[in-house]
Each structure stands twice: as structure tokens, then as C-alpha cells.
């Protein structure tokens, strides 16, 4: 259906809504905008105002600090591991749930949501209990020289746990709506499983996947609670950007704290912009891949 047709269909409804009361509309819009201004725009502005409170030089010093650079680097490394792993696991999980029938499927669906409903701090504690020095596997691992808690592996594990649902949740409903017929057709036409995945499945889910990756990445870089518990906050070694911000803030180094925070805020803005741009640029294709 073309946009013109859609507009023609939606028009009468819009007219009714308009007649329903201009006053109500104004109140609702004001309320929504006011809320956004107070809880989103204002804090965001303050991050940048505080970061530049003592000028560009102080801002740069805050970011150029070796500990800050280490935190940025660690954050990038964690995201670079967590996002690809969650892409693979998320696709596999969504595939299993959307395209197969098996016992315990509904249990798996609720388990996918679990990280959303568990406090990140609890998630972090679980890993400490499992792999910490006094934990179940900690002593054994330590005897082999494997460090998980207070080290990169622990941070990656905690981040994986917290960010897992983003990609799977984006893909499951989409893949369910797509069904199996295209894949089955490809197989009967002689395509291998891998070719079917690359040529048929992946192009069909690419926009949902990209959404998931953007959200997953934003969370992987911004996660605080779970990472705080497992990292031990060793400066320059196990502090990610959010942890580094907190440490600096607690030490009253507000310019440096907000300088690093501004990077995280920038990441959020870029994610939002990328998502909006994709939606705008590929609106037809996205709609087509969901509708057909």
C-alpha cells in the first residue's frame, strides 16, 4: 500500500481525534514535552555544561588521563566481545524459539526475559558467588591461574548476562511472523543450511538485528550495577567508563567525571540518531520485511 493510500485511510480517524478536543491534546502534549524536558533534555544538557564548566582544556585533560583512557579502552573491549557473542547467541535462541516446537519452549521464552527482571547487582553477585575467591569454582580456577572476578572475564560475563535479551527479544517476534516457508523453499531448491541462512534468513531479519545490536551495544557500554559488583574497581585496570565516572565523581573531580559521562551521553545520542536514521532511510524496506 502506498503512503498516499495510507494517509487517505487514516484521515477520517485523525479528524475525529481532532474534533475530540483541542484542549485535551494540548494538555497531553505539554505534559509529555514537560516530562521529556525535565527528565531527559535537562540532565543531558547538564552533563555537557558541567563537562565544559572549566573550558575545553580541562575537558580534554579529563579524557586524556591514563585511567580515563584505560576505562574507555576497557569499555570498548567489553562491548566488542559482548555484542558479537550476543548476536550469535541471540540469533540462535530466537531461531530455536521462533522456528521450532519443543518441550520447555515457553520456559525458554521466560528465561530470555530473566535478565530484564533481575536486578543487575544480583546478576553480578551471582557471578561473584560462582567464580569469586570463596565461590564454587573460584579456588579450582585460581589453581589453574584463571582469574574471572575482578578481571576482564568477569566484566564480560556480567555484561553478557545483562545485555542478552536485547537482540533475542527484537528477533523472536519478527522471526515468528516470518515463518519457515522461505527457508524450506531454499532447502528444497538445493541450498545448504549456511547459504539458506545467509541468503534468506539474514536479509529478512537484518533490520531487527541491527536495532538489537544498537540497543545491546548501548547497554553493554553503559552497564553499571552488574559490572560494579564483579570488577572490583581497580583504577586503570578493571574500571569501565560508567565505573570511572562514579569514582571521579566521588572524588569531587566533577569536570573529569562529566567529561567521561559526556562520551556516554554522546553514545546514547548517536545510537538514537542511528536508529532514527535507519527507520527513516529504510522505512519502506523495514515495513516490507515485516509485512510482505
Amino acid at each position: 500500500m502506498s503512503d498516499a493510500n495510507l494517509a487517505a485511510i487514516e484521515m477520517p480517524e485523525a479528524r475525529i481525534a481532532r474534533r475530540d478536543g483541542a484542549a485535551a491534546r494540548i494538555v497531553l502534549v505539554t505534559l509529555a514535552l514537560g516530562f521529556l524536558a525535565l527528565f531527559l533534555a535537562l540532565p543531558l544538557a547538564i552533563v555537557f555544561i558541567e563537562a565544559f564548566a572549566r573550558g575545553w582544556q580541562a575537558y580534554r585533560n579529563g579524557l586524556a588521563d591514563p585511567d580515563a583512557l584505560a576505562a574507555i579502552w576497557l569499555t570498548l573491549v567489553v562491548a566488542a566481545i559482548a555484542v558479537p557473542v550476543n548476536v550469535v547467541v541471540g540469533i540462535a535462541g530466537a531461531w530455536a524459539i521462533a522456528k521450532h516446537e519443543f518441550r520447555g519452549k515457553s520456559l525458554l521464552v521466560s528465561l530470555v526475559d530473566l535478565p530484564f527482571s533481575v536486578s543487575p547487582v544480583i546478576a553480578g553477585l551471582v557471578f561473584v558467588l560462582l567464580f569469586g575467591a570463596q565461590g564454587y569454582f573460584g579456588p579450582v580456577l585460581a589453581s589453574y591461574g584463571v582469574e574471572i572476578i575482578f578481571a576482564l572475564p568477569g566484566i564480560v560475563l556480567a555484561t553478557l548476562f545483562v545485555t542478552f535479551p536485547f537482540i533475542a527479544r527484537e528477533l523472536i517476534p519478527h522471526m515468528q511472523a516470518l515463518g519457515n516457508a522461505e527457508e524450506e523453499t531454499a532447502l528444497t531448491l538445493g541450498a545448504s543450511g549456511w547459504r539458506t541462512f545467509c541468503m534468506v534468513t539474514l536479509p529478512n531479519i537484518k533490520w531487527s538485528l541491527l536495532y538489537g545490536v544498537l540497543l545491546c551495544n548501548a547497554r553493554a557500554m553503559g552497564e553499571f550495577g552488574a559490572v560494579a559488583v564483579v570488577s572490583g574497581k581497580i583504577r586503570g585496570l578493571t574500571t569501565t567508563m560508567p565505573l570511572h565516572v562514579e569514582i571521579l565523581y566521588n572524588e569531587y573531580m566533577s569536570v573529569a567525571a562529566f567529561a567521561v559521562a559526556s562520551l556516554l551521553a554522546l553514545l546514547a545520542l548517536v545510537t538514537l540518531a542511528a536508529k532514527s536514521f535507519l527507520e527513516w532511510r529504510h522505512a519502506d524496506e523495514i515495513a516490507a520485511s515485516r509485512r510482505h
Binding site: E184, L187, G190
Partner: protein, 352 residues
Amino acid sequence: MSAAQRSVPVVIEQASRQFGGFAALKGISLAIAPGELVALLGPSGSGKTTLLRLIAGLDQADQGRILFDGVDADVLSLRDRRIGMVFQSYALFRHMTVADNIAFGLRARPRRTRPPESEIRQRVGALLDLVQLPGLEARFPSQLSGGQRQRVALARALAIEPRVLLLDEPFGALDAKVRKDLRAWLRALHDQTGHTTLFVTHDQEEALELADRVAILNDGLLEQVGTPDAVYDHPATAFVCGFLGEANHIPVELKGGEALFDGSPVFHAGANTSGPGALYVRPHHFRFDIPGATALDGHVANVRRHGAIRRAEVAVRGLARKLDVDIFSAVAPAVGERVGLRVTGGHVFAGA
């Protein structure tokens, strides 16, 4: 195209398939000759699509085997089966052009058997001509009508030079007019290309019109296989009789070769069985008679137009359902008029 040489016989031997506690197929055997066009006909849930998926290799039989040209299909990969499958939803690759859709099977071949790109393009063009959609190479599926999508799906299936063509409710999602056109077109295409073809349908008219032979499935079992004339004129079971075309069901008592209704003979059953039975009479196998002359005595409830003829609904004493009776004479009985009915043809089955 010399598809006739490529076509192979397909033999299904005692195929069974269970889904959890539900038996979708309960041991079906069916032999399909090379180049034959066979319809799998049955109500929904009868197992016809399950059977099609077993043949395609998309599902595995619990018991029994399927032979392609004498070779057990279990040892063949999906690619080696060389099945051209068309799904009810068409399942066109939505992000690919029509040309890329049709070429998919050729490009998916291993490098040594893959034709060069120039030949693929040429083949795509020839197939689009065959399905009467020339020049649509660059379109996307979303830019096609339902009937066009159907034909692209068929062209894509034909591109791999299938040994067997499987069509799942090929016209299910189309409106009545397009369906009729495509039916005639598919028959002509089959005569031209000669693929061994199996198609699933729940539309008896479609099956009878299109197929060389019709296999009627019910509840996971094969009720009857035969030419359209054979299954229509000589239904083997009460189910087939009731499913193919319209038939009035009259409970009767069988005795001495006669079917008795209300104690009086209504039809000569032939077979010498006794006990309760069922008499199936098609609407055109009734003749009006004077009231009281036959055991079927009732009054005309209404008269309706039914295509070329008119049809009366006759309420008969002792029958819960009114009988559909075709009216051949120009003079129709009046609504409310008392009439007798004589049975000129029918099918008798023992048992209730």
C-alpha cells in the same frame, strides 16, 4: 524442455507420521507414474500436506518409505531429491527480485554443476516466458499480484529441473476468477512440460478438473485413488461419495438386495448384504413422482436457482435433513406442493 525424460515415478509405501499423540498419516501407499498429475484431496487435517512434506523431505516418516525412481528417498539429500516445491504462501524471497528468486536454485548449486551466469539469465528469461510473465525480471515480490507471485514461485521451482513437482494448495490464496484461469493454465503447462506432479487441495472441483488421478485422504488414511471419473462415478466409501460433489444421505435398511426406507424399497442396492446402510443420492438422481407413489414422500420447502438449473429442497417425512433435488423440467413444483421422489441412481454403503 524435455522434462518428460527427467520425470520419475514416485512410490510411497506404508508411510506413517505421528505428531505427539496425533496420527497425521496412518500408513499410506500410493504409486505415481512418471509425468502423472495427481491430486491429493481431503478436508483439512486429513494428512495431505503432511504427506507432501514427507515427499519433499521437509519431514521424516516414522514408518514406511518413499522411493524416487526406485531409490529410497532417505538416502537422498534435499538437493539430490530435486523437488520443485511451491508453497501455499508462495514463499518468494521478498528481498530478491523476480529474476534472483528464479535463479536461486541454479546459483545454489555446487560450482562444478552451476551454469555460467549468462546461461542463468537466459534460463530465467525462458522460464518467465513459460509462466507468461516476460519482462518482470527486476520486480520485487511485493510489486506483484497474487496470481503473478504464484507463477513466479512455479518458475522458481521449475528452474532446478525438478524430477517431481509438489504444489501445496497452489490456488488456495487466490480469488475464484484467477483460480479458474490458473487451473486451465497449469493443466496446459503440465501437458507441455510433463513433470510428475503432486498437488494438494481441499477443493474437489479443482482436483476433478485438473488431475489425471485423484487420491482422496481422510483422517490420515487413503480412502480411494482413481481417475476423476472413477472416483466420482464409483466412490469406494461413503466418505468419498459425500466429499466428491453433492450427495443426499438417506439412512436405509438393507435386505435382499434392496434398500428399504421406512419399510419400502427405494433403490435396488444389488449387493446381498443385510442390516443398516446408507444410501447416497446426488441431486440429479431424483425424479418427481405423484405423492404416495414411492417411499420418499414429502413437500417442497423451497426452490432456488443453482447455476443452469433450479433446485428444490424437499422435506421428507422421517428424514431430519431436507433433500436437494434438481429440477430438469421447465415446470417446477410449487413451494408447499406435496411430491413423491423416485431414486434413479445412487450409492449404497453397508453400516450406518
